[in-house]
Subunit: 139 residues, 2 copies
DNA sequence: TTCATTTCTGAAATCATTGCAAATTTAAAA
DNA sequence: TTTTAAATTTGCAATGATTTCAGAAATGAA
């Protein structure tokens, strides 16, 4: 199920968003697209240092912020102790288990989407639905 | 519309939650109940230092955490740059304006609440629905 | 190639939050 | 009321994830 993205596809996506493609940006976007694991900046950094020896953690932070600002990636603040990122920007909810800290993707019920469409007075550009509790294994 | 809570009511509420009442805890819970402004710990601290000269910021942090752990207050992480608190623990959504940073409360239909609490495989104990964009004044 | 611009890097700085030990307060017993 | 032990609060120092900064490197245009 894990789709492999080509350098060309990623470059095109960056440029379509108005971002210049660099080796680091292509690698980071590619990692986010191919790994639906809600990684922290540090996880991305550790995963890519083999591939790009010169990569610095600062670049990962900067690049993720850039991707978030251009809507290519989203940032999750479901847990207040760490910040993580999601390469899937289609609307979906997140469930975090208080036991094992795993983050699961959840379908958003149609009713919620309807409710959000009916928000007069606001111009909505981002929705995060965070649900917490215990997963099957931990409850 | 702003309801005034008595010391006795607040004390009873703390004790019902299994928390000993202290001058600081009563003041902080009272502030949260009476001011639906989604304050940060620092805002609570600044607001109460006149009333309680000896109050320390550490106590505000500790007490808010205690109240959150006992379900009397909830913590919002809608903006990744600051953490704020909400004295209204009934389920409702939050809209944050990217322009003026105001946080607005949004009603959530009853069906949606039920649906979110009833996720198979998960035992849900908290739901946060964060919406971002621009408010009427800023868009 | 050269130049101008953008991007990347590593180290240092920031700052909200937490940890800790001492001081204070509380509540119940005597 | 006084004593006593436990709980709470305080102030300050430490923490650590994140951000900033200035120089170095890479890129693209001419």
């Amino acid at each position: 199920m894990k789709k492999k993205y080509t350098r060309t596809e990623l470059k095109a996506e960056l440029e379509a968003a108005g971002i210049r493609a660099s080796v680091q940006r292509i690698a980071i976007l590619g990692f986010m697209r191919e790994n639906p694991i809600h990684p922290t900046a540090d996880v991305v950094y550790e995963a890519l240092r083999d591939e790009i020896g010169s990569l610095s953690l600062t670049t990962v932070y900067n690049t993720l912020k850039l991707l978030v600002d251009h809507g290519l990636v989203s940032m999750l603040t479901i847990d207040d102790t760490f910040r993580c990122f999601d390469g899937n920007v289609d609307m979906h909810a997140h469930f975090m288990c208080r036991g094992c800290k795993s983050i699961y993707d959840i379908e958003v019920p149609e009713e919620v989407k309807c409710m959000l469409k009916g928000l007069d007075d606001f111009k909505v550009d981002e929705v995060q639905l965070y649900i917490k509790g215990y997963c099957k294994n931990c409850k």
